[in-house]
């Protein structure tokens, strides 16, 4: 008899916990889903095409620095941020760039569009999840498998 009684109590507690957990995770899911544009840290140049009223709006744009576009002119850095769909944004930046900003590497620029040119106030380098030594890259290059720059 005692075992049956205990099982009932355990079942009640179990259901109680499942209800708490389900309510809480559903509410977190709803919050996360409805705020997904705000939680996203940056937009890609392709996303900008479908957004309206981007002029004079504070934005973060992320992508790769386009090959052969990084230049230093009149005390300003000028480069293009490009994404996988080859849409790009022209960026001007007048402070020091982070060390890891290189062509064909990830970047996030923070600032505003003024006359279709993105005037960046903050620039962050975004590195990817691949780690390898130079020797491994040399080996890949020898085999002709290296796809980077």
């Amino acid at each position: 008899m005692r075992i049956i009684k205990l099982n009932n109590q355990i079942k009640k507690r179990f259901i109680f916990l499942i209800i708490i957990f389900a309510c809480f995770s559903t509410s977190i899911f709803l919050i996360g889903y409805s705020l997904k544009d705000q939680i996203a840290y940056f937009v890609e140049p392709t996303d900008l095409k479908s957004m309206d009223g981007i002029e004079n709006k504070y934005l973060r744009v992320g992508g790769l620095v386009k090959t052969n576009s990084l230049k230093f002119l009149d005390g300003k850095w000028i480069f293009e941020v490009v994404d996988q769909n080859q849409n790009s944004v022209n960026v001007v930046f007048s402070k020091t760039l982070p060390n890891l900003v290189e062509e064909n590497k990830g970047i996030i620029v923070e600032g505003k569009f003024i006359d279709n040119i993105f005037v960046a106030e903050i620039v962050l380098a975004k590195h990817d999840e691949n780690y390898m030594p130079q020797s491994a890259i040399d080996k890949l290059k020898e085999e002709g498998k290296w796809r980077g720059n």
Binding site: I10, R13, F14, L17, I20, F21, F24, S25, I28, G32, K36, I39, A40, Y41, F42, V43, E44, G62, P98, N99, L100, E102, K105, I108, I122, V123, L124, A125, K126, H127, D128, E129, N130, Y131, M132, P133, Q134, S135, A136, I137
Partner: protein
Amino acid sequence: MFAITPNILSNFMISLSRYVILLSLVLISFSIFLIIFLENDYYQGISFKIMFIHVPTAWLSLAIFLVMGISSIIGLIFKSPTAFTVARSLSPIGLIMSIIVLVTGSIWGNLTWGSYWVWDARLTSMLILAFIYLGHILLLYSFEHFQKADFAASILAIIGLVNLPIVKFSVDWWTTLHQESSVLRMGGPSMTNDYLITLLVSFFGIFMLTIFWFSNIFYIIVEKRKIERSKLLND
């Protein structure tokens, strides 16, 4: 199954702890040796080596919370004092781990991204995890009777379980400054084998250290309760 009293588990863990700390010291010194002689990353240079502290502690801070949450569930459902005590002794370790993750991460971030802190999804959810650990500890010490404290804290731990998938998958669900997972991901690890082996050696070293630390905290809690009980009996 629940014949494992806190006493039995404490004695078992303490009897193992000398081997565990020995293994941990061997693994950690071996991993330091490996890290020193490892070739630098082609892009980030020497700064990527902070990964060998950052990533193991990040895994452990998530894993500790998972164990804490599961033992809180077992504790609440089966009224098991052992499970409650496991959760109670894990939260300070988890807090320290998540603080190490945040500090090493912000040093690494400053060296590579060019910023100590940004409010992207991964960093923010990790900060929330550290605050849940802190809240768990505060709840444990804000009640007069430890049974009440265990009840309240275990509810927090179970609710906090919702945050774990958010921390893990934040880099996949939203765009973040933080890079995506390198090891636990679809398509296998995205680093060369020498880096991966160093990372795993470092992880198991810190993992063994965590087990040693856990068994000591567990032992202290059990012994303290024994002393309090004998005091009550003597009064």
